[in-house]
């Protein structure tokens, strides 16, 4: 070390403006950043790093949801107890009034709140629809031990059982479900509706212990979502006793998907085999000279 080396007195004039919550100033020892700015080398250099503003003062940072399934924590619940109370009581009025504001207002009354309380739900009736989807999706997990016992190891049978259980939850409100479909189909609501469908499909595959980690992960979820949503649509027009036709329709769709799935995988293995065989043939022909 050269004892005569000039030590730079670092006087950092950070304007008050930049000293917000989003600014983090820290000293990093022996970091030779000064050479980049043609400054004399110092033992300490000061780096001012700006933290992304969305991380700094977000009031909700403590309740951010996990993007994976944790066995050690309760699942994220977006509803407060009072909101759950209001929305569950509102769902009881849906068979009578339908998916309209009237049900929501009746729910507020039943839960002991005022008529105006409904205004707190940002998406109005769509919040009621979302709550129904959320609640019924989360009920499926509790059925797992029963279904595992009844249906054994067969993935197809268990998938069918979960679909029927989920469809049964729609039986009471099926006469009004077309209204909900109309609300879900509104342009501003489509992303959230599709997300909810994807979550349902994912939940069912998760509950049948699916461990896929390749591209099949997507195709499995997409096909199940397609099967489930078309069956749900069929159910709205079904007048048969105990919705027998709907469950027959579900069986036919699942069988079709399985057939298609096996044909595709047969086709894929045939293509792979033929490809490798022709490559080997070509290789041996060329090496022969």
């Amino acid at each position: 070390m050269n004892p005569n080396r000039r030590r730079l007195q670092l006087s950092v004039n950070i304007e008050r403006k930049s000293l917000t919550h989003s600014t983090l100033a820290f000293i990093k020892p022996n970091h030779n950043i000064c050479s980049q700015f043609q400054m004399p080398s110092t033992e300490f250099s000061v780096l001012v790093r700006r933290m992304p503003t969305h991380l700094s003062k977000t009031p909700f940072h403590c309740v951010r949801r996990r993007s994976y399934h944790s066995y050690d924590h309760l699942p994220y619940n977006p509803y407060t107890p009072s909101q759950e109370k209001i929305l569950s009581s509102a769902l009881k009025h849906v068979p009578e009034y339908g998916f309209v504001k009237q049900s929501l207002v009746q729910g507020c009354r039943d839960a002991g709140y005022l008529d105006t309380t409904h205004a707190v739900f940002q998406d109005g009736v769509f919040d009621l629809v979302k709550f129904h989807l959320y609640k019924e999706r989360n009920k499926l997990a509790a059925l797992k031990p029963q279904i595992d016992e009844d249906e054994g190891k067969s993935v197809g049978k268990r998938i069918r059982r979960y679909c029927t259980e989920r469809l049964k939850a729609n039986e009471l409100i099926i006469s009004k479900w077309t209204e909900a479909i109309a609300i879900m189909g509104l342009l501003q609501n489509i992303p959230q509706s599709l997300e909810e469908l994807a979550k349902l499909s994912d939940e069912i595959w998760f509950l049948v212990d699916d461990k896929t980690s390749d591209f099949d992960w997507y195709t499995k979820r997409a096909t199940l979502a397609a099967v489930y949503s078309s069956t749900e649509l069929y159910m709205t027009q079904d007048n048969s006793p105990r919705f027998e036709n709907t469950y027959d329709y579900l069986d036919r769709r699942l069988a079709a998907v399985q057939n298609a799935g096996s044909s595709i995988s047969n086709l894929a293995s045939w293509a792979t085999f033929t490809g490798f065989a022709s490559l080997n043939l070509l290789q041996s022909q060329l090496s022969r000279g």
Partner: protein, 317 residues
């Protein structure tokens, strides 16, 4: 050279149709003060400490300028006294009439009115001087719900705005004053409004002018019945980068100019755009509503026109 005019004529000489009012609060003065960090609703953490320990030296922001807390109320009152007459005309000019759509949507969302088997509502419209929201809510209750009993109490800190509202109420079907009442009140205290007495608290384009927003939110919590809803329509942060750029250019360059041309009052409109820029973002404000004891649903807000304005709601449980 003596025959030449001392100043060359510029287009602005012809555009300045009316005398521009220069009051004590000039835009030049508050632009010279360095901008404090955005989003700090009251700067007792910054300037307050620097200036000493005296209670009266607590500051708050007035546009981009920091002023002592006790002065802000008067300054805001002065701004709105000077714009009261031309308030609605200017709103139409500045927002291309969109503020009407926002207000209509706000009222439609709250859907106020007596329902079968329910009680008539008592609604408190804070900072509602000219009665814009109050008339819309009464119209909604009467026309949609056939409710001719629900009442609105309009409070404002500014007597001039209230007079304007009262004058307008005489031309409507609520002119007899049985369903609408006007009162001068400080939104942070609301001392004329009893606890747990209101079904609905609305504040449209007013809350950013309050000296102490958390105190106003606590007052709202106090006067609402359990289950009562706090609803706020306010300018907010545009959430699309490129649109935000255009919006900032528009608000800082065009709006004060319009204020000068149409209302002959550049300073007030300069204050308006600065106060909009200083108001916290949607998420931060939703957090403040939660802190005051309200419960929110989901994110607690809805963006209007890409976030130029936003509706926040909270419920007292």
């Amino acid at each position: 050279m003596a025959f030449l005019p001392r100043q060359p004529l510029r287009p602005s000489h012809f555009l300045r149709l009316r005398q521009v009012v220069h009051r004590q609060v000039s835009s030049a003065r508050y632009l010279s003060v360095p901008a404090p960090p955005l989003g700090n609703s009251n700067s007792e953490t910054n300037l307050g400490k620097e200036q000493g320990t005296q209670a009266r030296s607590k500051t708050t922001h007035f546009g981009f300028k920091d002023v002592p807390e006790y002065e802000k109320e008067d300054l805001v009152r002065e701004v709105f006294s000077s714009v009261a007459k031309s308030y609605d005309v200017m709103n139409d000019f500045m927002s291309f009439g969109i503020h009407r759509l926002w207000k209509d949507h706000f009222v439609a969302k709250l859907d106020p009115g007596r329902r079968p088997g329910g009680e008539p509502l008592s609604i408190l419209d804070v900072a509602g001087g000219t009665g814009d929201i109050a008339f819309r809510m009464l119209d909604w209750a009467s026309d949609i719900h056939n409710d001719h009993q629900s009442k609105v109490l309009v409070v404002d800190i500014n007597d001039d705005m209230l007079k304007e509202g009262h004058k307008r109420s005489l031309t409507t079907r609520y002119g007899d004053g049985s369903r609408i009442e006007f009162k001068v009140q400080n939104a942070e205290l609301l001392d004329a409004v009893p606890d747990n007495s209101q079904d609905l608290y609305t504040v449209a384009f007013g809350i950013r002018n309050f000296t102490n927003i958390p105190a106003a939110l606590r007052a709202a919590h106090r006067i609402l019945k359990p289950g009562g809803v706090f609803a706020c329509l306010e300018f907010s942060k545009v959430n699309v980068g490129i649109l935000d750029m255009i919006y900032q250019q528009y608000s800082f360059n065009i709006i004060p100019l319009m204020g000068q041309l149409v209302a002959a009052d550049r300073d007030s409109y300069q204050y308006l755009v600065e106060s909009i820029a200083r108001f916290p973002s949607q998420k931060e404000f939703a957090g403040m509503i939660k802190d005051a004891g309200f419960e929110i649903s989901g994110d607690g807000y809805e963006d209007l026109t890409f976030g130029v304005a936003a509706i926040h709601t909270g419920v007292k449980v």
